[in-house]
């Protein structure tokens, strides 16, 4: 369907791929081969000559037996059953599903980047090292921090790295603190990382503004607290405006502030975690800096730190010598490696090209666009949903389907499924946990106002269907490649591989 606003049109379409797709195993034919090998003229030896009998596999592993043509058709048909940013808006709160410039894909695919073995001597990888060095510097400039490791391969990995840095700092102070404070609105990775970092989670509630309750925080701060993990803007899309006071209180007890960079997109060029008083900052390059999400990875989760923590960073780090040559260094009191090599290098190359093409001016416009779009959509949807914290938000806002549930018995879950039928992806549901029937909406800066209007109208249509009663949306979606999926059955009768399918 199409929507017009101020002369432009926007379009969303139902998806293709309505037919069931056989698995690659069902498409296999015994004896069929796609694989090819180059001519090497290396002398052929038999399995018996090459492998001691005790180690030899009796039967070949049961990989598919499919021709290349059929395999390509299979993969292509699977893509018809998959929604993506490149097809349409993806307003998943907290996930920053922005359009990623194609330029970045091409830059990262250059053989000069992709064909390099990570153990190649630095003299032969000067381009990589220079790029990683430059990316590290610019990430420090963006966050207002002193030094950075690019190695953590994802946000959660960055969190754990940050907690281990906290631990190393504690130990260097000759103390062993036991607790880390996190708000009740935090991402689930935060408490899980705290546990794996060897700390105990202490939860601080949000106040009626949707912000950290500063008084409650003060009550929880003592000499056992190693630090606090904060997302700012927080998961309600609200800026923690008491951050300076919070930082002072946390530092007063000798604890550290950890910045979860999940929502960094909102503040690019506007304000910096370093200026707010944060000691450790992780960034999700796959959210803010346009590394495509790839259906759930790979991402990259660099961690930047203040000067006093730099000596603990994981190694190795790119370093430029006085002769201008790049090499590696590992900080003196490094917590050690956090990745098999240097992190998700090609994802880092994408992020660097994204930063170059936007520049400081462009990044500021990214934040402005993201915040403008989210505020516009909040205003636009006010009449449709409850907005529990209905005041100026940053890059996202949290709506609630409580009004619809109360009046018509229809849950946020059903609203989300209904939106899929409109040709849009659904918002994040039931998060943050402190909002009932939450629909967390992050339009991102790359969606036009025409698309936002189309999205708003789609929400309105779904709400109108909901008003007709529970029945209609309980069986949505209907115009998607499959209908509503039975999630409970998947958990109850686990079939995690083709071989676990019941016979017949």
């Amino acid at each position: 369907m199409t929507t017009t606003i101020s002369g432009g049109q926007a379009k969303s379409i139902p998806m293709m791929g309505r037919d069931e797709e056989p698995t690659v195993f069902e498409l296999s034919v015994p004896g069929r081969v796609a694989a090819q090998f180059r001519t090497t003229n290396v002398p052929e030896l038999s399995e018996a000559e090459l492998i001691p009998a005790a180690h030899r596999r009796a039967e070949p592993a049961e990989l598919p037996e499919i021709g290349e043509r059929d395999l390509v058709a299979h993969g292509t048909r699977l893509t018809h059953r998959q929604y993506s940013v490149d097809l349409g808006a993806y307003p998943l709160g907290s996930c920053t599903m922005k359009y990623n410039p194609k330029l970045c894909d091409e830059a990262a695919g250059l053989p000069g980047f992709a064909a390099v073995h990570p153990a190649t001597p630095p003299a032969y990888t000067q381009g990589w090292l220079e790029m990683l060095g430059a990316l590290g510097r610019v990430l420090c400039d963006i966050t207002g921090m002193h030094d950075v490791t690019l190695a953590p391969p994802a946000g959660a990995s960055g969190e754990l790295t940050g907690l281990l840095l906290m631990r190393a700092w504690d130990e260097a102070q000759g103390r062993q603190r036991t607790k880390v404070v996190i708000p009740d609105s935090a991402h689930g990775t935060n408490p899980a990382s705290v546990t794996l970092g060897g700390y105990e989670t202490v939860t601080v509630p949000s106040d009626d503004r949707g912000l950290v309750d500063v008084k409650a925080l003060r009550d929880r701060l003592d000499e056992d607290v190693a630090g606090i993990m904060l997302t700012n803007p927080n998961t309600l899309g609200l800026f923690e405006s008491d951050i300076v006071e919070i930082a002072a209180a946390v530092h007063e007890v000798g604890a550290l502030l950890y910045y979860d960079g999940a929502n960094l997109n909102a503040i690019l060029g506007v304000t910096r975690p370093g200026d707010m008083g944060f000691d450790i900052v992780h960034m999700n390059l796959h959210k803010t800096f346009a590394v495509p999400h790839g259906g759930g990875g790979p991402g990259a989760g660099p961690v930047a730190v203040s000067e006093r923590l730099a000596e603990f960073l994981p190694g190795p780090l790119p370093a430029q010598g006085s002769d201008g040559q790049w090499g590696w260094r590992t900080p003196q009191r490094s917590i050690g490696r956090v990745h098999g090599w240097y992190g998700n290098a090609l994802a880092l190359a994408r992020a660097y090209s994204y930063i170059l093409v936007n520049g400081g001016d462009g990044l500021r416009r990214v934040a402005e666009g993201a915040v403008l779009n989210a505020n516009w959509l909040r205003h636009r949807l006010r009449a449709t949903f409850d907005i529990p914290y209905d005041r100026p938000n940053m890059h996202e806002f949290v709506a609630s389907a409580t009004n619809i549930k109360r009046a018509h018995g229809v849950k946020a879950f059903d609203i989300a499924k209904g939106l899929l039928d409109e040709g849009f992806h659904a918002p994040t549901m039931y998060f943050p946990l402190i909002v009932a029937e939450a629909l967390m909406i992050e339009p991102t800066e790359t969606e036009s106002v025409q698309t936002l209007e189309a999205l708003a109208q789609a929400f309105e249509r779904v709400a109108a269907v909901a008003a007709e009663g529970e029945g209609e949306l309980a069986t949505a979606p209907r115009h998607t490649p499959v209908g509503r999926v039975d999630e409970a059955r998947a958990a109850r009768q686990l079939i995690a591989t083709y071989d676990m399918r019941p016979a017949g």
Binding site: T195, G295, V371, D499, M500
Partner: protein, 443 residues
């Protein structure tokens, strides 16, 4: 500069009016004034056009002369051929620009590809279940160790010195948080020499197969040690070698982890790769990360969905046994495509070709005066040599001759050596030239 925010000035003005503001700056009124960044203090250079950006990236890529070296290095990363089909299909925009499949009704493409991936990884590992991938081999090993510790309630880990040294370092880094006690188990002539059972019974016995020196470890012994101590056997396996070797499951592994890069992912200066993770079914509730399961939709049609979600961090929060949220889906999709393309016969041939190239190269190098095996145990597709000169020096000299000669390693007993890997990409001509260059480089 890039124009990725689409609004015209008029649209911005009307959108601002709609939300009751006069300027874009007012959007940030909630940020305390003292924290607001003056433009002059934002030290990021102005944006470039797409084409100027591409030119700068090309300049940096060209400065990596290493991309043209003929690769004889392995040590966890391998120079394999990748079918064009993998790139062409695997880089289709629906795979690249999708999010984690939170709404399964519009994510069947990714979910089914992951289901197929899990099936292939489980079959290769000889175990019942596999997850939808982890970050890389090293971090998959960390998760494997964590699973074993949680399952046994014992924090001591017997980590063979035959495990990739960087992976071992990563295990130690994260042990600082979990409190696991990592005991290094030494190598004797390239093979792990397990200690006698003691009071500190391990929760995990960790072995790599083939190990970091390319050696075919005594897996029966590792399995016996695990059984005798009541530990879980965690095997770090090479998925290519698994084409001709007994699977971790056949050897008695409870958990198998590995680096999936050899299937469909370029060497990429170390990442993104993907961690393979498979386990016995009884451990499924402790498996980290995402698992895709088959189910049906309301009309009874086959469908896929991420399942057993209650294991995961967003639900269990501080009680979760792993903080993994994202996996490496796109890389797993590429891996599944390459495995499917290789197929049953192709994987076996791939492994054999690697072993043939390795044998040919190793024999030729050992014929050089002064070159000897670093360890005596049998190898498959990677091997370590003792050289008469500093191996780091040899790597530098060989690079000047156009070869990445290998990586510097040690035998775990104080002797340095050069670790060499040969894949199916290396032709006899390349190998002969490499051997001739080595002959000079070690003088």
């Amino acid at each position: 500069m890039g124009h990725y925010v689409p609004h015209t000035d008029e649209e911005i003005a009307s959108m601002l009016a709609f939300v009751g503001l006069d300027s874009l700056d007012e959007l940030f009124d909630c940020v305390p004034e003292a924290l607001r960044l003056a433009q002059a203090d934002f030290a990021v250079a102005p944006g470039l056009s797409e084409f100027d950006t591409a030119a700068e990236m090309e300049r940096l890529a060209r400065a990596n002369r290493g991309s043209e070296l003929i690769c004889f290095a392995g040590d966890g990363t391998y120079d394999h051929d990748i079918s064009s089909m993998v790139r062409r299909v695997g880089m289709r925009t629906e795979f690249v620009t999708a999010y984690t499949p939170y709404q399964p009704e519009v994510a069947q493409g990714v979910l089914q590809a992951l289901f197929e991936y899990q099936t292939m990884v489980a079959r290769l590992a000889g175990l019942e279940i596999a997850n939808a991938s982890l970050y890389d081999g090293a971090t998959a090993l960390v998760e494997g160790v964590n699973l074993a510790v949680a399952a046994t309630g014992r924090q001591t880990v017997w980590l063979s010195n035959g495990v990739n040294q960087r992976w071992g370092q990563v295990v130690r880094t994260f042990a600082a948080g979990t409190g696991h006690v990592i005991c290094n188990v030494p190598l004797t002539d390239g093979v792990t020499e397990w200690p006698e059972p003691s009071d500190e019974a391990p929760g995990a016995v960790v072995v790599q197969y083939p190990n970091r020196l390319g050696v075919l470890e005594d897996m029966a012994e590792a399995a016996r040690v695990a059984r005798a101590t009541g530990a879980l056997l965690v095997v770090a396996f090479d998925p290519v070698a698994a084409g001709v070797l007994k699977s971790p499951g056949e050897w008695g592994a409870d958990v198998a982890v590995g680096e999936g890069q050899p299937f469909g992912t370029p060497m990429s200066f170390g990442g993104p790769y993907l961690g393979l993770f498979a386990a016995r079914l009884e451990h499924v509730r402790r498996v980290p990360g995402r698992i895709v399961g088959e189910t049906v939709d309301l009309e009874g049609r086959r469908a896929y969905v991420t399942t057993l979600r209650t294991r995961e961090q967003d639900i269990r929060r501080e009680k979760a046994s792993s903080n993994v949220c994202t996996n490496q889906t796109l890389i797993a999709v590429h891996c599944a495509l390459q495995m499917s393309w290789l197929g049953k016969a192709g994987l076996r041939e791939l492994a054999l070709r690697c072993a043939q190239g390795t044998r040919y190269t190793r024999d030729a190098l050992l014929a050089i005066d002064g070159v000897a095996p670093l360890v005596g145990a049998p190898v498959l597709r990677e091997f370590a040599l003792k050289l008469p000169v500093d191996p780091a020096r040899v790597v530098e000299r060989m690079a000047d001759e156009g070869f990445l000669a290998g990586t510097v390693t040690d035998d775990g007993a104080g002797h340095e050596g050069l670790l060499v890997a040969v894949t199916e990409r290396r032709t006899r001509t390349e190998i002969d030239a490499y051997v001739a260059a080595m002959e000079k480089a070690i003088r």
